[in-house]
Each structure stands twice: as C-alpha cells, then as structure tokens.
Symmetry: C2
Subunit: 322 residues, 2 copies
C-alpha cells in the first residue's frame, strides 16, 4: 500500500475527535463508509461525530448498525475538529454541509473511489481501483484486523453490494470478492443486508413496473428501450420519483438492447432523463447534449421541456447514433 | 483437505481416458462443472469425453468454452472407460444416460454439493459446504493452479453465479467469494458470463412478466404472493414453460411476502406448482402435500387438477399455515 495512505490513515487513528461527512442524498456506499469508518475509529478510542444532511433522508439504510447515532449539522455550534474525513465525494460541491465542515475542521482527509475526484482534501486517499469507498476503507483497515467488528463489516459490505449492483457491475474485481470474503469472516450480517437491499421491494413499485412494461417502447431496431413516467402515473401508483432507479437498469437487461432510457417527471415539472448502456454506447457523452453527464454506462440529465417534447428530442438525437 | 479427496482427485489426473456426465436438464452448475473439469483434466493430458443427454437442450449455456465438444450417449458403442465422473447429481436416477454410464465405466467418482446426495459412487467427493459443484471443483483443483486456464475459470464461475443466484442465496460463503476472486485472477471471462446470464432477458419474457404483475394476487395478509399462468397466455406471449423460473423468485422479493407461488400449465395440462419462501416457511414440507419436494426455501410439485381447482386447493391448504 501507498506509504502516504498508511501515514494518513495512521494519523486518523491517533486523533481524539474526528468528524465524518459524506455526500448529499447518501446512498449505500455513503452510509456504509460513514458508519463503517465511524465504528473502526471508535474501536481505536477515537470520538467520532458522523454527519448527514438530513437524518431521515433515506429509511432504506436505517438497518445499518450505528444509523441512530448520525447527527445533522448545527450551524450554531462553535465545535472545531482537528480532523474531518469526507467520504465518497468526487467534488467539493457534493459534500453535505460543505461550508460548515470546511469551516469547522483544521484538516480534511478526502477518501473516495470516483475517477473524477478533484483531490480537494489536505490529504487524499483516492483511487478508482476500488469498487466503492467501502472497499477502500476495508483495504485501509485490514492491516488492523482487530478493529473490524461485525458492525463495521456489515456497513462496509453494504456499500460494496450497492455500488457493484450486487457484484454485477464492471467495477467488481477479484479484490472486491476478497474484501467481501474477509467481511463475512468478520461476521458481517449479510442476511440482514440482503433482506433490506434486495428482498423488500415495495408492492406499489412492483405494480408500477408491471404497468411500465406494458408501455415499454423498443425502438431503433431493438437497440433502445424507452420508458416514460409522468407525475400523475407515479401518484396513482403511490410511487415517488426517487424510487425508480431500478427501472432503467431493468430494461437495459433486455436481449439486444444497448441503451435504456427512462424519462420521469419531477415535482416541479422538469423531466429527468436517466440513461444506461450495456456495452459500447457512451451515455455520458449523450447526456452532454442536455448539459448532463455521469459515467460511460450510467448518466443523467434534466430537461426543461415537457415530456412529449423531451421524448421527441431524445429519440431524434439518438437516431444520429444508430 | 480430506486426504481421501486428494487421493481420488489425484487418481483422476492419472487416467488416460475419463468420461464425465451430469444430471438431466443441465443448469449452469451442471454445464460449468462438466466443461470446467473437462478442461482441467485435458491440461493434464487426460482424454475426456463429456456427455450430455441432448446437445441442444439449453442454448442458454452455449457460450461456455468447450460447449461444442459435448457429445451424446451412443448405445451402439462398446467403449469402456476406466473412470467416469458424475457431477452435480444428488441421486442415481438424475444421472443423464444413467444406465449407459454405469455399464460403460469401471469406476464411478461422484462429485457433488447436494445435502441429499446418496453416495452412489465408488469414490465420493461430496459436501454441502460448497455453494455449487463448480466451487468444489475449484477447491479440488486449486492446488494445481497451473491446470486452471481462463476457459475452465469461465466455466467454473458460471456455476457459482447460477447456483448462488449471483451471490444472493444463503449458500454464498466467504469461500464462495474467495473462489470467485481466484477465478477472476485466472482471467475468467466474467463479462461474457454476466452478459449471457443476466443481461439477455428476452423481450417476450419481460412483456409476460409485466402482464403477470398486473394479475398478481397478494393474499393472506400480504404474506403470500400468487401468480398463475395458463398455456394460452404463455403461447400468446411466445414464452415457454421452461422460461418462467425467475418469476417466482421475483415476486418473493416483495416487502412482507414470505411465500411466493407460481402455478403454470404444462404441455400436457398438468399444473406445476413452484414455491419459494423468504425466511422461515418450509416450502419443502408444504410441497409434500402434493407429493412434491425440494429445499426449505425452494420446492415444487405437480398437480393433476385443473388450474382453478389447484389454485383453490393450494390457497385453502396455505390458510392452515398463516
């Protein structure tokens, strides 16, 4: 391991107090790395304050050990931290409570796996060779194997499983599997993780998927799968905008389909364009046509046109590619 | 490792000719272990004849390296084998070409991971501590690491991924992840495996799933999800009986559902009852009410009543359990 990383992680273990923070709209890797690292540091006697923007933002991850200890930013505090760790954030503007944490911490350590990371920390432990920030935390902590408890193992494997689509995305490496094996040896509560992540789909969400499939369009010679969902339909099925992430991945898995597109109407009548590709199509590049972006196989953009116009625009533009 | 296993596997490597066979209606673990072991033995100079009942039985696995070399049983041959290996078969009656292979081989080695295995071989390498027969083959061969090529690694990881539901079933252990890591290090073509197993769902199958969800019944206080599909509907969507395995697992994943049931009409008008449970319900026991069986969380049975009567019977019986 990079000797600078060893030194940085060692310094962290020596602190008396540390603040941890992750990105806005935290996902499994954000919560997993936040709570996993918190638990590891606590085993070493560090007092840890783990912050999220909104404590009740995502009940989906409330099963994680330590979730109840999360706190929100308090702008009236004069608490200063000798050290703050920003987890799973590629850029400064995505850091939850950004200004607050940068003002209240003497030193910022940036731990992340996004290729786009801008190295905004005083120290940066950043590499895209990890499936997830959780895998990176495992890698840093595994030399101190006694620090990894069943609680932190449960948190870390959650981030690995969510960020790899349960070991299906291209970021799954031999190292990802070895990390998972080690975390199971540390008694990660994999049963609870799987139950909450994969075996608790809401019935209304399933019903909406059934309806959506009935309206699925397969166009451009079978290469493109296209879905749109307006707010009226989502309301009828009692499904919120945020719960539709799986739909676009689901339709990408159809035989012959290279690009999957979901248009969904936001509360304020914009259209969110979600794009996924299977092998060769660069959806990041395509999303730029709408001032959006992301990764080669998963990207998004926002349109201010209505559903009908956005659909026409997207399909017309796609015709140039196929 | 068990010293008897080392001796048995060592004897196999010393043969000049070996026949390999697996179970009828081969799945990913059957094809994977058959072709994986074939390749490993060939690296050691053994001449291998790998048999399947019907060469064209399941095109789904034709991407596996060596698939084209599979042969079918020929009752006119007088070929005798010093050794035959039966892979992934819990019982003698499930061995494809059962009589043929038992008549033509001097010695039978039984390699399997089913808890119900009846130890029918002259030598038996059998343990339910492996997710799959493929994981067991990896375990046997890993001391001879030079024998594992990218081709055999591709075959073996296929069986691991199919038999664990891509690492989601309870049989996924730390060892399963370590086996997968090793096979990726051996350049298993994981991209091709994932493409064929998970990213090539047929459009007609997806359309039928959408239709089925519209007709999904959630009964007995939300604990039971119930689907039935008659032959007329399957024909309309151009989906065959064999392609419906995923549906019952899909509806089991609904929040609050403990038991998922799919009734499907076979060609000869029987009703196949497919049962899955999520955590505590023993579907194997329930299937016995219909003279069926299987595992605690996955079982099946056949009914000679029509769809309507079978549905009534199943639901009435279930009421005693909830």
């Amino acid at each position: 391991m990079n000797s600078k990383w060893v030194q940085t992680f060692g310094n962290l273990l020596k602190c008396s107090q540390v603040a941890l923070v992750t990105h806005v709209f935290p996902d499994g890797d954000a919560y997993g790395s936040l709570l996993g690292l918190k638990n590891i540091l606590e085993q070493h006697g560090v007092e840890v304050f783990a912050y999220v923007e909104d404590k009740n933002s995502n009940g989906k991850f409330s099963f994680l050990p330590g979730y109840e200890t999360l706190i929100t930013f308090d702008s009236n505090t004069d608490r200063q931290f000798p050290m703050a760790v920003v987890l799973d954030c590629g850029e400064k503007k995505r850091v939850a409570g950004g200004n607050w944490i940068f003002e209240h911490a003497t030193k910022i350590i940036n731990i992340d796996h996004h290729i786009s990371n801008s190295f905004f920390g005083h120290d940066n432990i950043v590499s895209e060779k990890f499936s997830s920030t959780c895998e990176l935390i495992w890698y840093l902590a595994k030399r101190f194997t006694e620090l990894i408890t069943n609680e932190s193992a449960t948190c870390l494997i959650t981030g690995i499983m969510t960020d790899t689509g349960n070991f299906l995305y291209d970021n799954t490496s031999a190292q990802t599997f070895r990390a998972s094996a080690d975390l199971i040896d540390k008694n990660a509560d994999i049963k609870t993780v799987k139950f909450n992540l994969f075996h608790s789909k809401s019935l209304s969400n399933i019903r909406l998927l059934g309806y959506a499939i009935q309206n699925l369009q397969i166009i451009l010679g079978g290469k493109v799968a296209f879905l749109n969902l307006d707010k009226y339909t989502m309301d009828q099925f009692n499904v919120s905008y945020e719960d539709l992430d799986d739909f676009v991945a689901f339709i990408r898995d159809i035989e012959g389909v290279e690009v999957a597109i979901l248009l969904k109407e936001t509360k304020n009548k914009q259209i969110k364009i979600s794009l996924r590709s299977k092998s060769y199509f660069d959806v990041n590049k395509f999303a730029q046509e709408f001032n959006g972006g992301g990764h080669k196989k998963a990207a998004g953009a926002l349109s201010n046109e209505n559903m009908e116009s956005t659909e026409k625009l997207v399909i017309d533009l796609l015709k140039n590619y196929f």
